[in-house]
Assembly symmetry: C2
Homo-oligomer: 281 residues x 2
């Protein structure tokens, strides 16, 4: 396994690989890898000649008051995990190489970036699409793998790849959960034992929503109301949003029909957690 830190070097390697007709499977991460990432790596390993994992905590997608500085990092642990999973190349560029002085180019996926987390974290998705597009150009993947846990991000990146004719397959893999149901996230490392226990209510609320829909409760308001009630039983948790939207265009729905995304974000202490579930009627 190689660890590449230079953008130039990575570009040359991927150009050579694609020139010799190798397929490249790409997993874009901010490091501090967990089972969610591993599931993406395993899938990519099965489907491609070469697997590249990028590890880069992207400053452009953090708001000024967010956790960029304290975001958990452990390149040693990440390296060991990648090695074990048969990764060929870790690409871990520096901020200076990714955003040199005078950097000014940004990509925006309008509409899809505006609701849900986009409302709560202005500029976040612009930072995500910009770095993803840069990393795509540097690594030149045939396919890139993302987790359903970041549902809005996955939809936005897929739309960007289509709209800009990137010719890269975007593959969205299921959320991996801890035994109690908590969605895997590098940010779970912030949680105390008690906070982690309380956070189990998020998955319970999503499951409750699903079972309500299965019992033919189709009024979004009632479902969100019940989810709110459940989550509010945990004192350590403050709700950021709970919304039910169309799974294709993220527009809010009143009546559940076809395929909806039930999405939520909460704070427990200073830690922001998100989770979601797709339900088909």
């Amino acid at each position: 396994m190689k660890i590449i830190k230079s953008v130039k070097q990575m570009s040359l390697i991927s150009k050579k690989l694609r020139g010799s007709r190798k397929t490249i499977g790409f997993i874009l991460t901010m490091g501090y890898l967990h089972e969610g990432h591993i599931s993406l790596i395993r899938k990519a390993r099965k489907e491609n000649n070469i697997v590249v994992v990028s590890i880069y905590v992207n400053p452009a997608q953090f708001g000024p008051k967010e956790d960029f500085k304290k975001y958990p990092r452990n390149i040693k642990m990440d390296t060991t995990l990648c090695e074990k999973c048969g990764v060929d190349i870790i690409f871990a560029p520096s901020d200076k190489d990714m955003y040199p002085q005078g950097y000014v180019t940004y990509i925006n996926v309008e509409k899809l970036s505006e609701g849900l987390c986009g409302t709560k974290r202005p500029g976040h998705f612009k930072g995500v699409t910009t770095v993803v597009s840069k990393l795509f150009n540097i690594v030149k993947p045939s396919a890139a793998y993302f987790g359903q846990k970041d549902a809005q991000q996955a939809l936005i990146i897929n739309k960007m790849a289509q709209d800009l004719n990137m010719g890269i397959k975007i593959k969205i893999m299921p959320t991996v959960r801890e035994p109690g149901g908590l969605a895997m996230s590098s940010r779970n490392a912030y949680l105390s034992v008690d906070e982690k226990k309380d956070a189990l209510v998020l998955y319970k609320a999503l499951q409750k929503a699903k079972s309500m829909i299965e019992s033919r409760e189709y009024r979004a308001k009632n479902i969100v109301g019940e989810m709110r009630r459940l989550i509010k039983t945990k004192k350590s948790i403050r709700i950021d949003y709970i919304e039910i939207v169309s799974a294709n265009d993220l527009k809010p729905v009143d009546k559940i029909k076809r395929k909806v995304l039930i999405a939520l974000a909460v704070f427990t202490g200073k830690t922001r957690l998100i989770d979601n579930m797709i339900v088909r009627v």
Copy 2:
């Protein structure tokens, strides 16, 4: 020579070409080709295995009151010219294929897009960078050729390619002028005989500016003043802007130093013409 209209087909062809290690030289045009375009094609022909010319009048770069509908088109004449110049592929996609329903992704090169024509044509450069990025992804060029006549556009595209790590050489070729000095432009087709005669003053004003600087007049205000005076002698011409900016970052300068761009835009009737000159001190 092939004429390709489908985005999908063009993507497949260029993927195959790059896979077999052919270099692709790319000239992006809105058609109605003139000697300026031809000079780019000739250069690309010398430097690449394959030459692709795109002909696409991009709706996203026209303002609502601009000349999208009446922009001159003549695919037959363009085809003959391309054939003569040894072009391998004309790529002429449809609006529906380029901007399918629900299209929402845009690229913006901040700062550089804000001054000069960017102030006068809001959204114009966002439309340009977006379509250029799409065309780059579809055609996968090794090098792309642009004219210095659109100085701000050239700078913006070069910056985008660098910032987003596109790995494409951006080559800027000198402005080609008609015998009297008028910069070649498809929009010259709009001009009456008299308007065309009056428009010669633009190049004269630029030459005047250059000779003033050569005579050590370094005060931008005085130079712009003299250009204004000269152009105003032509009643058919209305000045949109005349500016002297740093050639690297397009920031206005008071004192001429190093490398400046002297840029102007005027209206003659409803026709907007631009021209510019780079002067080194």
